[in-house]
């Protein structure tokens, strides 16, 4: 391959954002989580008079058909309809005539339900049916451990995307135009044919007015994909220079990574042959894996 990176950005200069370095779970995050559980396990209790955020069933009598119903549901305080706030303070069995933009409606309150959040206690966390979790303290420990494990795995990947962008923006490449054109044209044509086979017509432009010829439509796809080639060259350099792999090893590592992220096998991705698109795909996934390993050093101590 003639195309190459002439100056690869020195990743030591990269400084990830502070929020991506954090993996520990603060106490208030667990408190918020418990608060969410208490709302998710709330109950509805019958009450005597209407307050904001209650659920109210009424009988409606009106000359306006949509308000003339044996049962109407209202939710004062949520802004769903103009009538709801008139119900505030009304008691079960009480009636009131309300003016609306379409005419009058007489509402009789049939039932009022109020949401009661579940207390934050051991019984609440037992409702989650988590193995080994019986008490609030168990839950706090379980949530902290599982979330921190997840964060330690995922934060380096998020940092890796930032580092990859920094490398792309700050590296210099010598791109061979013939190589670039051949690879991207191959992929653009494959993409065009695949889209056409599924019934999509790429000759219809976004403005929907001036149709493109097939040649123009293929060229448009090609131009859209052109930036991929430089990224491929850079990702390849990341694998070789930072990951210290030869190209074939880098390809196999990247292919495995790409397949795993889609829940399938490397051979599935090679079903259409080892095209440039697959090579590029493998290099992108492989580069992120290499950079994520590197970024683990940035996790907070």
């Amino acid at each position: 391959m003639k195309s190459r990176v002439t100056n690869l950005y020195d990743y030591h200069q990269y400084r990830p954002p502070e929020e991506l370095r954090r993996w520990r779970v603060p106490d208030n995050q667990i408190d918020d989580r418990l608060d969410l559980l208490s709302r998710n396990h709330s109950l509805q209790a019958d009450v005597d008079s209407v307050q904001e955020k209650d659920s109210v069933a009424c009988r409606g009598e009106s000359t306006v058909p949509r308000w003339n119903q044996p049962v109407l549901f209202f939710y004062p305080g949520y802004g769903l309809c103009e009538v709801e706030d008139a119900l505030l303070g009304m008691k079960v069995g009480e009636s009131k005539t309300v003016s609306t933009t379409e005419g009058e409606i007489t509402l009789t309150v049939l039932r009022i339900l109020r949401r009661v959040n579940h207390p934050v206690d051991d019984a609440l966390v037992q409702l989650e049916s988590i193995e080994g979790v019986q008490t609030l303290e168990d839950y706090r420990r379980w949530y902290r451990e599982t979330t921190e494990d997840k964060n330690r795995e995922e934060q380096p990947i998020r940092m890796a995307y930032g580092l990859q962008n920094a490398i792309e923006e700050n590296s210099a490449c010598d791109i061979d135009p013939e190589e670039e054109s051949r690879c991207v044209r191959e992929y653009a044509n494959q993409f065009y044919d695949a889209m056409t086979a599924t019934g999509q017509d790429l000759t219809i432009p976004e403005d929907g007015v001036t149709f493109l010829t097939e040649e123009q439509a293929r060229e448009k796809v090609y131009q859209q994909f052109l930036p991929m080639y430089r990224r491929y060259v850079i990702c390849r350099a990341i694998m070789e220079e930072i990951g210290h792999m030869d190209y074939e090893t880098a390809f196999q590592v990247g292919l495995k990574e790409a397949a795993e992220s889609h829940g399938n096998q490397p051979e599935d991705l090679l079903a259409q042959g080892r095209t440039w698109n697959i090579e590029e795909y493998a290099m992108e996934f492989g580069a992120i894996r290499v950079l994520a390993e590197l970024c683990k050093q940035y996790l907070e101590g």
Binding site: R39, S42, S55, A57, R66, L72, F73, Y78, L113
Partner: protein, 114 residues
């Protein structure tokens, strides 16, 4: 609370309910995951409305029956008849507009994915 709908129990969950909101979601769908807390909160706030969620990956008959074009899709039923449909993630304010349509025949909001 949100009921879990399947190909087998869907009609039972719908039967006799004046107002039903159905969330048709898919696995590995980011928008579906993002919509879940919005629906959870609404289902807790709006007692007397029935919320059902159906995993379309596991219950293809429901998806076929309602000609689901993508996930998440929400269907709104009044007395068993479909009143409106939405596609994609939405914030609570937008969901409230659809619920107003469901409950009070308010104008149907413009679909987010149109």
């Amino acid at each position: 609370m949100i009921y879990i709908g399947t190909d087998d129990n869907f009609d039972d969950l719908m039967r006799g309910e004046p107002y039903v909101i159905v969330d048709l979601y898919g696995e590995y769908c980011g928008s579906c995951v993002a919509l879940e807390p919005v629906l959870n909160e609404a289902s807790n706030d709006y007692a007397m409305l029935r919320f059902i969620k159906v995993n379309c990956s596991h219950n293809p008959k429901i998806a076929q029956r309602f000609s689901v074009r993508g996930v998440p899709t929400m269907l709104f039923f009044r007395q068993g008849k479909q009143v409106c449909e939405t596609g994609g993630w939405m914030e609570r304010k937008k969901l409230n507009e659809y619920i107003a349509t469901l409950l009070y025949d308010a104008p149907v909001p413009k679909r987010i994915d149109d």
